[in-house]
């Protein structure tokens, strides 16, 4: 090799890196909660069809929407997973970048559980207990008029019927969709039980939200990071601690941790499916309509996702901890794909 060839090689390299060819692999981004399900479908899809196995990135719901809405074409992902409904601001962002046609599929539920180790005591909570244990500011009268910063140190401070142990709760960080859902469903659920606070919602929504969604920062609630496995391990080490995580982790570790009942309902598969257990949220994925037919196998992948053997009552996603939809809703998901019905703005606003 002479020294003259080096610049030539470098030039060839530069041409090579700029040459972006067509993509024959589906790209999915989005929620880390949906990740275990999406990957299971992708793997199966790759095995039983002639298409390549889709590539799934776990970016979080918000991060996924950002990537998804950054543009049309092979350089941008085809599907984004979400553990909440897409926001209006995200739809607007999409529209601004030329993605006006989005197909929305709801494919299941996920329960959020409050659990402790098997060897620890049993606890029956209601949402008010959860709120009083974890909120930054709590009312000290039954009506909810007078607010103080949370004085509760032990569960028995909240309600004498609860065990006399220190409150110690490990949960996900603010960036997590699980945290958003927990705050919205459990904390706000408990918050609303105070009359004055409920009335506040109409008068001053901002203040209401700050109060109901504010989690205490005095060390009682411990931010345990995005890794739910870590929370489970920490629970086993500390029998007095409780953890907040998705149902699939309870399901996988049911020999070492147990879920607390909320309003007298245990977080079991049946109770979440029937909707009796209240802290559960819907899981979605969104598809770019313009990519169907351009990226090979995209439609087949979505069909595989919504087939009975995957998201049905006894499908393989249920083995992975997914709470399935009702039969009618599953039918609806399939017909949405058949007809490629787009998400309309009005529908979205009704939704949340």
């Amino acid at each position: 090799m002479t020294y003259k060839t080096i610049p030539i090689l470098f030039a060839v390299f530069c041409v090579m890196i700029t040459a972006a060819s067509a993509r024959d692999q589906i790209r999915v981004v989005g929620s880390s909660t949906v990740f275990p399900f999406s990957t299971a479908v992708a793997e199966n899809f790759g095995r039983i069809t002639k298409f390549k196995t889709p590539v799934i990135e776990s970016t979080g719901t918000g991060g996924g929407a950002k990537l998804f809405c950054s543009g049309l074409g092979t350089r941008h992902p085809d599907i984004t997973n979400a553990s909440r409904r897409i926001k209006r601001s995200e739809i607007n962002r999409c529209a601004k970048n030329g993605i006006s046609k989005i197909i929305e599929i709801q494919f299941g539920f996920d329960g959020i559980v409050i659990a402790n180790t098997k060897s620890g005591g049993k606890i029956d909570l209601d949402m008010r207990h959860v709120f009083l244990a974890l909120a930054k500011k709590v009312p000290i009268d039954a009506e909810g008029k007078k607010l103080v910063s949370n004085p509760h140190k032990r569960w028995s401070d909240i309600d004498p019927s609860l065990p006399n142990i220190k409150i110690e709760v490990l949960g996900p960080p603010p960036t997590s969709g699980t945290r958003d859902a927990f705050v919205e469903l459990a904390m706000e659920g408990g918050c609303k039980t105070f009359k004055t606070i409920k009335a506040m919602k109409k008068r001053n929504k901002k203040k209401y939200k700050a109060l109901c969604h504010g989690i205490r920062e005095d060390g009682v609630f411990i931010d345990a990071g995005e890794n739910d496995n870590l929370i489970v391990q920490k629970l086993n080490a500390n029998p007095n601690a409780f953890g907040i995580f998705g149902f699939s982790f309870l399901d996988q570790n049911s020999d070492s941790v147990k879920g607390a009942s909320i309003n007298g309902i245990a977080p079991t598969f049946e109770n979440i499916t029937s909707g009796k257990y209240k802290i559960s949220r819907s899981l979605y994925f969104y598809i770019k309509k313009a990519h169907i037919g351009v990226i090979p196998g995209l439609r087949d992948f979505v069909k595989e996702f919504t087939s009975e053997k995957s998201f049905g009552d006894e499908g393989y996603l249920v083995d992975k901890g997914l709470i399935p939809l009702s039969k009618e809703k599953r039918e609806k998901a399939r017909s949405t794909i058949e007809t490629l019905k787009e998400l309309s703005m009005q529908e979205q606003t009704q939704g949340s």
């Binding site: 700029t18 590539v55 699939s248 020999d255």
Partner: protein
């Protein structure tokens, strides 16, 4: 002299030697303490390392074994006498799952209810179906015969056999299932074998099928690209700065910036990759090519600094001698200085590469932290890297991934040890002292 000294120190001659010997003892004691401290700190470092490795081996070693069920399966007659007609499509029309189910059910004739049957079938992994299918496709003569095959067990059975989970009625393995498993163990149906799949498979959502080949090849391709860029660029930069560049304010500035670059957090390089290589150049997301370029930028300062040190340690007499017999500056460098500096340069490069190999943060931004099943075939295919695989498995809910995580860590540590050992050996072999 002594008198004046003695005036300052009101002590007698005999006492004086005593003070000196006392002082000497104190100095010796201090030296001993210093030595002990040094040995202690090394001991602490080594024991922490052993704790880490021991913990990983303890957790991860069982992942190198996999539980199998030995089943005898009667396959149906070959309906396609013409060999050419046999294609994967034709084969896959046969219901291999049901053959496996039937074979397993034969061991438990007493199981009748649908519910129990479902529980029983859960003992076998979904991968067993594909293994059987592949075996028949490779050898269609098996059709019509009864064959003994090793069906891979599901992750829960595997973990139960390894004692990582206990049976309980709400758990992954029910009491009923545990009794069946115990019976199968007694009958010699269940046994453990070396887990080859761990080294030959790509990632999977089923822990028993998940392997590190995809991630290893991804790492390899990424490192190839990174070294192909960082090594020549780094060495060229070092040669210019050390041998040719004039010493002025500009080269000082460049020098400071290179040292600075070596300390920049790696995630920043990922952001750069996202903005420049993905955004501006439109390169493929998740491709080892992008990962390699980003890691090359990250290792470049290390290579430059190490190469400059190596070039600088070549004695000036060599340069002077070469110049003296009429070599041009370029000849001096390429024929005499560089060959002598190469061992040092290589050591620096290997250490830089080892650091890059363990990096996940920059790969996060460019989409290499992803679930990728297919083994990458080239630098433009989607791929992950070994540390990314560890990160992804650590985050998975299935219990069996705990041991996979530890096992993958062991593999990564082994690769790193080999690389660092290589660096030490290279230095030992080619090192010259002047």
């Amino acid at each position: 002299m002594t008198n004046t000294l003695l005036k300052g120190f009101p002590i007698k001659e005999g006492e004086r030697t005593e003070t000196i010997s006392k002082r000497r003892e104190r100095r010796y004691a201090a030296e001993k303490r210093f030595k002990i401290l040094g040995i202690l700190s090394i001991l602490v470092a080594i024991s922490t390392l052993f704790l880490l490795i021991g913990n990983m081996i303890n957790k991860g070693f069982s992942a190198f074994k996999q539980t199998y069920l030995e089943l005898s399966i009667s396959l149906p007659e070959n309906k396609f006498p013409n060999e050419k007609q046999i294609s994967p499509n034709v084969i896959s029309e046969l219901n291999f799952k049901s053959f496996l189910k039937r074979a397993l059910l034969k061991k438990f004739p007493e199981i009748k209810s649908r519910r129990d049957k479902r529980l029983l079938y859960k003992l076998i992994s979904s991968g067993a179906t594909f293994d059987l299918q592949d075996a028949v496709f490779e050898n269609p003569k098996l059709l019509g015969k009864t064959i003994t095959t090793l069906a891979i067990a599901s992750d829960d059975v595997d973990q139960y056999i390894k004692g990582n989970i206990t049976a309980n009625n709400q758990g992954r393995i029910t009491i009923k299932q545990s009794k069946w498993i115990d019976k199968l163990v007694d009958d010699g149906v269940i046994n453990q074998k070396f887990n080859l799949k761990f080294f030959t498979n790509g990632d999977s959502r089923e822990p028993e099928l998940a392997g590190i080949l995809g991630a290893t090849i991804g790492s390899l391709l990424t490192m190839l690209v990174a070294l192909a860029l960082a090594f020549p660029l780094g060495v060229a930069a070092a040669i210019y700065l050390e041998e040719f560049a004039p010493k002025n304010r500009w080269t000082d500035l460049v020098e400071v910036n290179i040292s600075n670059l070596a300390a920049v957090p790696s995630i920043v390089f990922g952001l750069l990759g996202l903005a420049v290589f993905l955004g501006f150049f439109g390169m493929h997301r998740s491709a080892p090519l992008v990962g390699g370029v980003v890691l090359a930028l990250m290792t470049l300062p290390t290579v430059i600094i190490a190469s400059r040190a190596a070039l600088g340690s070549v004695p000036p007499s060599i340069r002077e001698a070469a110049t003296g017999i009429g070599a041009s500056p370029m000849q001096v460098v390429l024929h005499h200085v560089l060959p002598l500096a190469i061992p040092g340069i290589l050591t620096g490069t290997i250490i830089g590469a080892a650091r890059a190999l363990g990096e996940t943060a920059p790969l996060l931004m460019i989409g290499m932290v992803a679930f990728i099943v297919d083994i990458p075939q080239g630098i433009n295919d989607s791929a992950t890297a070994l540390p990314v695989q560890i990160f992804l498995w650590a985050d998975s809910p299935e219990r069996a991934f705990v041991e996979k995580t530890a096992a993958a860590t062991l593999v990564l540590l082994t690769v790193l040890i080999i690389m660092n050992l290589g660096a030490v050996l290279l230095r030992k072999k080619f090192e010259r002292r002047w």
